[in-house]
């Protein structure tokens, strides 16, 4: 089967050459026209001769799987219509999904949520549910997933979504024209092939066998509209502001650069009647305003010009979300506990730094960090301590027994003494032959200062000095990228399963631009990680996962800080949420994009605004929902 893939690049090259003649539709947004500040939806056909790919017959004996039996999670009584108003703090540098600047900024999540994947994960049961694919099946080789595409699927411009769009998708990601080396790597090393079997059947081939669930999650690639992307040397420039057709409920309708982006619900969106997509994405229009300062945005919100506002920090929840609109019940507050893998927030120790190469020092530092005091005081007791890296992963991947190291001066003393730091200088900081026990802590967000100053004062008690280096974000990024940090404050995001290889495998140690920022280099651990990566049996993988986590914990190269076990938001009372407010995996309550469960009730809106003008009050509402609380 592999031989076929070798043919594909050649075919694509041919296809690309044959489309050199300017397609008739391209005139509307010709490269020569200067970019304007206003972009509106227009013709999206830029390619005349669409690349098509050869079909390969399907193997026999595939067991097609689907899932139409899980409960729906959207509210059947949701009212469609209305405009939802939200904000971003910076205007995106491009609307492209790939290539330079496409993955940074606060607009990335909304941008990506306009596209559906092959399959989705049910937000409550965590089982896979159909999306662009109606059925899926696993190949005998353990590394291939077959998908039956929904023949009803359409791009927002009405073109059908076909198998060719998927094959093209990988070709596009491999193309040098889109200048996306990271994506290119992924589609070279991880996804080694996308094969068309007929117009509505494809398969995705990974590089090595994996458990089925993981393949479904990781190989859920998005199609690319073939008719829209003309891949050539000017692609990056030409596609900065072209409005790409989408497969999801919304498409970009109007952009005023630097000011706002407006999304519109696609008329007759193809998935609107599917079981798991009914009654979702209810608002007709989403206006994403650029407001460069969160405090300014708060003022807009309090005036009713934005529909919701995140109250993520304790300061916002307790101090900023107070006053008349809250007391009079115009704005509701919600604290919703979710059950999601927890981000790895905390301090990462670079073991290539001579001082931190000593495990005793690392352990001493871990015991000298009084995170409990920080959480109790600075964080107002709102957040529990994070146990470890990869906490809260589904299906039992997280080692249940690991506990974080608490503030313990006796243990810190014991480890620092073992490391030879027995003397204390006149300021109480330990020394060893003239060397002070001092480490630099690099961080980029000024908000962390309040946590770090307390840690610093407490660490002095153990004879450890923390030098706080508040850096400019780009300098900080460069420092971590080049692994020139000593201790860095940083938060790693999560995935469906633990990503040990990128964080802890020695292939990624001692070299720049990898996620092994602690330079973990342990040959025994490597073996376990390799075994974990290639394992397909869930039980084995769970055992390995626990074992690996224990080794990582014992190495003490990471000091976890805290987790945020809930979502906190404020929203005007006309924003309606389904019964139960959200789902197990909700990370945002008032999110019109990714789950799109909310709707806007025009009657309540009218009532609220009239009441506000008349000074009438409703009951104040603060919801605390603990249905999905895990700890």
């Amino acid at each position: 089967m592999r031989n076929h893939f070798l043919l594909l690049p050649a075919l694509l090259a041919f296809a690309a050459c044959s489309s050199d003649a300017p397609p008739p539709a391209a005139g509307a947004a010709d490269e020569a026209t200067p970019p304007e500040d206003v972009v509106v939806a227009s013709d999206t056909h830029f390619v005349a001769d669409l690349p098509t790919y050869p079909s390969v017959p399907l193997p026999d004996g595939l067991q097609w799987i689907t899932n139409e039996d899980d409960p729906v999670f959207a509210a059947p009584d949701a009212k469609p219509g209305g405009t939802y108003r939200t904000y971003i703090t910076g205007f995106p540098l491009t609307l492209r999904l790939h290539g330079p600047d496409a993955a940074s900024g606060s607009y990335v999540a909304p941008k990506r949520s306009m596209y559906m994947s092959l399959v989705d994960i049910h937000p409550n049961t965590l089982k896979f549910i159909p999306a662009l694919a109606t059925h899926w099946a696993f190949g005998a080789d353990g590394k291939t997933v077959y998908y039956k595409l929904d023949p009803r699927a359409r791009w927002s411009d009405g073109e059908p979504v076909t198998a060719d769009d998927y094959v093209f998708s990988r070709e596009m990601r491999l193309s040098d024209f889109i200048v996306d080396p990271f994506g290119k790597n992924y589609f070279t090393d991880q996804i080694v092939g996308v094969v068309k079997h007929d117009d509505h059947t494809i398969s995705v081939v990974g590089s090595s066998p994996k458990p089925p669930d993981e393949m479904l999650y990781e190989y859920g690639l998005s199609p690319e509209p073939r008719h829209f992307h003309k891949l050539d040397g000017d692609w990056v420039k030409n596609y900065d502001w072209r409005l790409e057709p989408t497969t999801g409920a919304y498409h970009t309708a109007r952009v005023e650069k630097g000011r706002f982006i407006e999304l519109e619900r696609t008329a007759n969106w193809w998935a609107k009647d599917l079981k798991y997509y009914q009654h979702r994405f209810n608002v007709d229009k989403i206006r994403v305003e650029v407001i460069r300062d969160d405090d300014v945005a708060l003022q807009y919100f309090l005036r009713g010009e934005l529909d919701a506002y995140s109250l993520a920090t304790p300061a916002r929840w307790y101090e900023k979300a107070v006053g008349e609109p809250f007391d009079k019940g115009y704005i509701h507050k919600i604290q919703f506990y979710n059950d999601v893998p927890r981000e790895a927030r905390g301090m990462w120790l670079n073991m290539d730094v001579p001082l931190l190469n000593d495990k005793n020092i690392r352990l001493g530092i871990a015991y000298a960090m009084n995170w409990d005091a920080v959480l109790r005081t600075v964080m107002r007791g709102d957040y529990p301590r994070l146990r470890m890296h990869f906490e809260g992963y589904y299906w039992g991947y997280s080692n249940p027994t690991i506990q974080p190291r608490g503030f313990d001066l006796a243990k810190a003393d014991q480890y620092f003494t073992t490391a030879g730091f027995t003397q204390r200088g006149p300021d109480g900081i330990r020394t060893k032959g003239g060397q002070r026990l001092a480490v630099n802590v690099s961080y980029a967000s000024p908000d962390l200062s309040s946590q770090l100053v307390l840690l610093r004062e407490e660490a002095k008690k153990a004879g450890l000095e923390l030098n706080l280096n508040l850096l400019d974000p780009s300098t900080w990024g460069t420092q971590v990228g080049e692994k020139k940090h000593e201790i860095v404050m940083l938060t790693f995001g999560t995935g469906l399963t633990p990503t040990f290889w990128q964080h802890y495998h020695s292939v990624n140690a001692h070299k720049p631009q990898t996620n092994n920022i602690t330079n973990m280099d342990d040959k025994d651990l490597d073996k376990l990680i390799d075994e974990f990566e290639s394992g397909t049996n869930l039980e084995t993988r769970l055992r390995l996962s626990h074992q690996i986590q224990q080794i990582i914990h014992d190495a003490a190269d990471y000091i976890p800080s805290y987790k945020i076990p809930y979502v906190r938001e404020a929203y005007w009372r006309w924003v309606k949420l389904p019964e139960g407010y959200g789902t197990r995996t909700s990370t945002e309550m008032t999110d019109p994009f990714s789950l799109g469960l909310l709707w806007i009730d025009p009657d309540t809106a009218k009532e609220t605004l009239e009441a506000r003008d008349a000074g009438r009050a409703f009951d104040p509402v603060t919801i605390v929902d603990e249905k999905w609380r895990v700890n």
């Binding site: 107002r380 610093r456 004062e457 508040l470 400019d472 780009s474």
Partner: protein, 358 residues
């Protein structure tokens, strides 16, 4: 001393003293400076004196004393506020021994350092001013005493301004004098160089530097000196030019005085009024520059006590008005006093009072 004996200087001093608000401002500022030099004795979490088991301890300036020194159960630095209450309790208890009864602690006026965070179990900072807890101006958002941070911030800002002034003046005076004295091509060349150098947007350069390295006190001083020495050269150049043309310089030259002697003994003392007049304003600009940089986040790294950092905390937390009002009041007062001093000096050195119009 030459200057003190000079009748001209005496006259100027008398004139300065007669301008009351400038004179008083000078006294107050000097007192504040003196006090801030010994701030550890006034605002500190280390006790002034501890009398324990018959021994006297003076922890302020020495090495740290672990809690075990005073019978407490920890190895790290003694918490003297806690110690004071522990000892007081023991004194009061009926079973106290004679040695226990003789133990006492004298704490400074403000028993907090600029760095330590003080949390109360029942509430979250910032805490409003509270005299019984001796947080006379309240605390900032991490529970650090504002008065302590103001005092140490003042000391740092003043030290910064004085060092900056010294460096700027040494370079400015030396170069300005040379330009004025030699004149010609040298003068022309440096005038152009200074004009070009003056056009470098200094604040941006500092921001760029701060984004690449973590600035500390000395890197900030150096950066500010590199872009701040030019001003003085113009004034010194002009006045040297003027003085050089005077008869007494020609006379000195005729008597065979060397260039060095002419510059240092004859010209410089006669330009002193210009230098002295500028000093207060340079101090003020040094303080404001550091505060502005700290406010913008390009100044000294946390947790250094600084007025700019307090100011930015205050503006971000207007619900805790004691933060912003403390620092704004302190800043206004200091700058006002410096301005009064400057005004009085200018007045005292003004030659007009000796001019008689016919």
């Amino acid at each position: 001393m030459r200057f003190r004996l000079d009748p001209q200087t005496k006259k100027q001093w008398r004139r300065f003293r007669s301008i009351r608000r400038g004179y008083w401002s000078l006294l107050i500022i000097l007192a504040l400076l003196l006090a801030s030099v010994f701030a550890e004795l006034l605002v500190n979490n280390r006790a002034l004196v501890v009398h324990y088991q018959g021994d006297y301890y003076f922890p302020t300036y020495g090495a740290y004393l672990p809690g075990t020194t005073f019978g407490l159960d920890y190895q790290y630095e003694t918490n003297y506020r806690e110690l004071a209450s522990v000892l007081a309790e023991k004194r009061a208890s009926s079973s106290a021994s004679a040695a226990d009864r003789g133990n006492w602690v004298v704490l400074p006026l403000v028993p907090y350092s600029a760095y330590e965070t003080d949390f109360k179990p029942e509430a979250f900072p910032p805490y409003p001013p509270n005299f019984s807890a001796k947080h006379y101006l309240g605390t900032d958002v991490t529970g650090r005493d504002i008065l302590a941070r103001l005092v140490y911030g003042f000391r740092l800002a003043m030290a910064f301004a004085v060092i900056l002034l010294f460096c700027n003046y040494v370079i400015g005076i030396a170069l300005g004098c040379t330009m004025g004295f030699w004149g010609g091509a040298f003068d022309l060349l440096f005038q152009r160089l200074i004009e070009i150098w003056s056009n470098v947007p200094f604040l941006y350069v500092i921001m760029i530097i701060a984004s690449v390295i973590v600035p500390n006190f000395w890197t900030l001083v150096i950066a500010m000196v590199i872009f701040g020495w030019m001003n003085m050269t113009w004034y010194m150049r002009t006045s040297t030019y003027k003085e050089k043309a005077r008869e007494y310089v020609s006379a000195a030259r005729a008597l065979g005085a060397t260039n060095t002697r002419i510059v240092f003994v004859h010209i410089l003392p006669n330009t002193i009024s210009i230098i002295v007049t500028f000093i207060p304003f340079s101090i003020a600009s040094g303080v404001t520059a550091l505060t502005a940089l700290d406010y913008l986040g390009f100044g000294l790294p946390p947790p250094t006590p600084s007025w700019g950092e307090l100011l930015s905390q205050g503006t971000a937390n207007l619900r805790a008005p004691w933060i912003v009002s403390s620092v704004v009041a302190a800043m206004s007062l200091v700058l006002l006093m410096v301005a009064y001093i400057g005004e009085a000096i200018r007045e005292a050195f003004d030659p007009k009072q000796f001019t008689f119009y016919e």
